[in-house]
């Protein structure tokens, strides 16, 4: 029987997570493939909605949040697909999984990278929405909802992208799986955002924010528990 080899010093969860996120950011900084696709898609949606809908101010306050979230979710799907495709195309996912780190650290590293891309796109798109729709979107409450909703969306999206990237129809499969699962977060985010834009009282808004927070936490816990099984043969 072999004597146990010395257990080497292992990278901590936080260091591994940051290494993965930093690697994604560096690679994207060079190629700008994912970010460009997300941004161009978002800008096209803003322009198309702006030129195709002639809305009065009241209706505009009711539908802007919906249009905003449609833009974010579809652009986000493009980014999520691309983010995992990079890992799959040269079997780099195997390289990540061979590292002696907690595999959840790899997942959360990917989440951080995807979240940074999505929030960067949102930071660029929000002022454009404000200008084109003549509505002030820089409400602290609305920005918090955008951030919380994006967390839930990316947490679920990264997990499902890891699953669908193994399939030939990954580009089609991801949105089909993702949108029903993430519906509670997106629907609550749209409602909360609309209420903020309409200046509704906080006791009407809080239940929606609570739903987003609750689902964010549930998704994070679930992803932490199942990621190991998702990536294992």
């Amino acid at each position: 029987m072999a004597q146990p080899f010395r257990r080497k010093h292992q990278t901590s969860f936080a260091r591994a997570m940051w290494a993965v996120a930093r690697k994604d950011l560096s690679a994207e900084w060079r190629s700008r493939e994912m970010f460009s696709a997300m941004l161009i898609f978002s800008l096209l949606v803003v322009f198309i909605f702006n030129f195709s809908l002639d809305l009065n101010p009241k209706t505009q306050r009711e539908v802007t949040a919906g249009m905003l979230w449609v833009t974010f979710t579809f652009a986000g799907t493009l980014g999520l697909n691309r983010s995992m495709a990079i890992e799959k195309d040269r079997s780099c996912l195997d390289g990540l999984l061979l590292a002696p780190v907690d595999r959840s650290a790899i997942y959360f590293g990917k989440v951080i990278g995807n979240l940074i891309f999505m929030i960067t796109v949102e930071i660029i798109v929000l002022p454009l929405f404000s200008i084109f729709y003549n509505i002030n979107l820089f409400n602290p409450g609305l920005l918090a909802v955008v951030a919380l909703g994006s967390v839930g969306y990316v947490v679920v999206g990264t997990l499902l992208a890891t699953m669908t990237v193994q399939t030939r129809t990954r580009d089609v499969l991801l949105p089909i799986l993702l949108f029903p699962v993430v519906l509670p977060v997106v629907a609550s985010a749209v409602r909360a955002s609309t209420f903020f834009l309409q200046g509704q009282p906080m006791d009407l808004i809080w239940p929606n924010i609570n739903i987003i927070i609750a689902f964010d936490l549930i998704y994070i816990a679930l992803a932490y528990m199942v990621f190991d099984f998702v990536v294992e043969e």
């Binding site: 072999a2 004597q3 292992q10 690697k23 195997d94």
Partner: protein
């Protein structure tokens, strides 16, 4: 001393059984050539050893750690090289090594990166994007990636696939140098000439089991092809070899 010990390994994908009670052993410092026809389960076996795939049944012990329970311990002592380089095209060679070095908690990273780049003769291309590398250069960088954490065990899954003669010769030289450093190496390959040259033991995997096993001393220098053919053509069963596998009649 056994570095890799496998007993009764079974791997099923749905209804299909790829490995059917396979036994395998690699001792410290051995360079084992794992031969077999396409679809024999060589890659599946290496994926199980590297903890990328979970055994359906059986005992797998690598570097003293049990799989799948102690997978992180196995991975810390393991370097893997396949025909896919597992490198990021949009990072430079050096950035790729830095990334994997962080994942493996490599100490004295700048010095170690210099060492492994020197080993594979890529020091002058360290700041170039990997997507600008030739196939041979990418494979050499993949070797540097596989040994950045100085693993005791190397698993090589058809590392010569897609390489031209020059690149293969350079890979030969690097693998010989790595093997001389006292690592245990398991390599799958269809290139019998290179396998005969590099390996100290040859195992033939077919029908989900090791059906033949012989040391370099037992096989004449130009006799690996004959040994392999006899093993593949032989009916199940045969002469018992020293390690519990069978030698073809």
């Amino acid at each position: 001393m056994a570095v890799i010990e496998v007993q009764g390994l079974v791997k099923r994908f749905g209804l299909k059984t790829i490995l059917k009670g396979m036994d395998f052993r690699a001792d410290f410092g051995e360079f084992v050539g794992l031969l077999g026809p396409n679809g024999a389960g060589k890659t599946t076996f290496l994926r199980i050893l590297s903890s990328l795939s979970r055994p359906s049944f059986g005992q797998v012990r690598v570097a003293g750690f049990q799989l799948p329970q102690q997978a992180a311990g196995v991975r810390a002592n393991l370097g893997v090289l396949s025909h896919q380089p597992l490198l990021y095209g949009d990072l430079t060679g050096e950035e790729n090594l830095e990334f994997y070095g962080r994942m493996y908690a490599v100490e004295n990273m700048p010095e170690r990166i210099n060492e492994v780049l020197d080993l594979v003769d890529l020091t002058n291309r360290r700041r170039d994007l990997v997507r600008t590398y030739s196939r041979g250069m990418a494979q050499r960088l993949a070797i540097a990636r596989a040994v950045i954490h100085d693993p005791a065990i190397l698993l090589l899954d058809e590392p010569y696939t897609g390489l031209d003669q020059d690149a293969s010769a350079m890979l030969d030289a690097v693998l010989k140098q790595i093997a001389a450093q006292g690592r245990t190496v398991v390599m799958t390959s269809h290139d019998l000439v290179r396998t005969a040259e590099l390996c100290t033991r040859f195992d033939v995997l077919s029908r989900g089991k090791i059906i033949a096993s012989a040391s370099r001393d037992e096989v004449p220098q130009d006799g690996l092809l004959a040994f392999y053919r006899r093993a593949i053509m032989a009916p199940a069963g045969g002469k018992e070899a020293g390690n519990g596998a069978t030698l073809p009649a």
